[in-house]
Symmetry: C2
Subunit: 138 residues, 2 copies
DNA sequence: CTCTTTGCAAACGATTTGCAAAAAT
DNA sequence: ATTTTTGCAAATCGTTTGCAAAGAG
């Protein structure tokens, strides 16, 4: 109970009420710096009872509050990853074969963003994902 | 009839049998260098009768044959664009407000691909999409 | 003639929704 | 006390599938 207060605080700071599921979800996502699917989350979150709909609602709330990032690697479902200042802006590479996901800890969008700014775009954001065969699958 | 032979040829070159839907679909996608949704395609393809399932099957076949590119901008549905050597490798920017999609005619992935190659990845590909407010929506 | 493609209707799977009850602050 | 969150069940929506009939080469 005692060290859950950290997570209660985080939720409150983000204007989210603290509930059993939200605490466990935040704890889980904080422990893994890895984009998890809803299914993976459900398999891990076995200590409490909750409904699937509630999980999706919490994930949406967390995303809106920028507590987590929603990641779409074109798999047909979404992944969720804690939004952490330490690994701030990064990208991912997923292995074509084993589906392992790794972080690419830097970005290279400046040239395109400069081009887009000149073209008249504002408020520019981007998505950039890589795919390839990892060294163990080769 | 006569100038459809061009499209029949293209289909055959790609080992695809020529059918009324495939011809019209190829003609439509060739006329627009723009990533269209299945719904948009259906609204345009009114001269012939066909089933939705057939359309999706044709889109999948075309993609496998690399006649078209399937594009996922995270909208919850896919878009399809003719695969054309003239605009070969490019990316897209979509306006946050009006959803207009424009082509970014160049790429900047070399630095990351070099990094990934060093890390042991082979067969690297990527996805890169930009989002922002366009000049008319500003 | 053989293999591929089609139409139809039903299935899919991730996510969302309506609603009334329960919980958080 | 008020607002938010939950559980349940049903719905949504883009896309896919099984199957037997039709069409292409």
């Amino acid at each position: 109970m005692v060290h859950l207060e950290k997570y209660i605080d985080i939720l409150h700071t983000h204007h989210l009420k603290s509930t059993p599921l939200r605490l466990e979800l935040l704890k889980l996502l904080s422990s893994k710096h890895h984009p998890m699917t809803a299914e993976e989350i459900q398999k891990k979150l076995t200590t409490i009872a909750y409904d699937q709909a509630t999980l999706f609602r919490s994930l949406k709330k967390f995303t809106e509050a920028k507590l987590i990032n929603t990641i779409d690697l074109g798999e047909g479902f979404l992944r969720y990853e804690i939004h952490c200042k330490v690994h701030s802006h990064h990208h991912h590479i997923m292995c074509n074969r084993c589906k392992k996901i790794e972080v690419i800890p830097f970005c290279i969008s400046q040239e395109i963003e400069k081009y887009l700014t000149k073209t008249g775009y504002t408020n520019i954001s981007h998505r950039m994902d890589f795919f390839g065969q990892c060294s163990t699958c080769k």
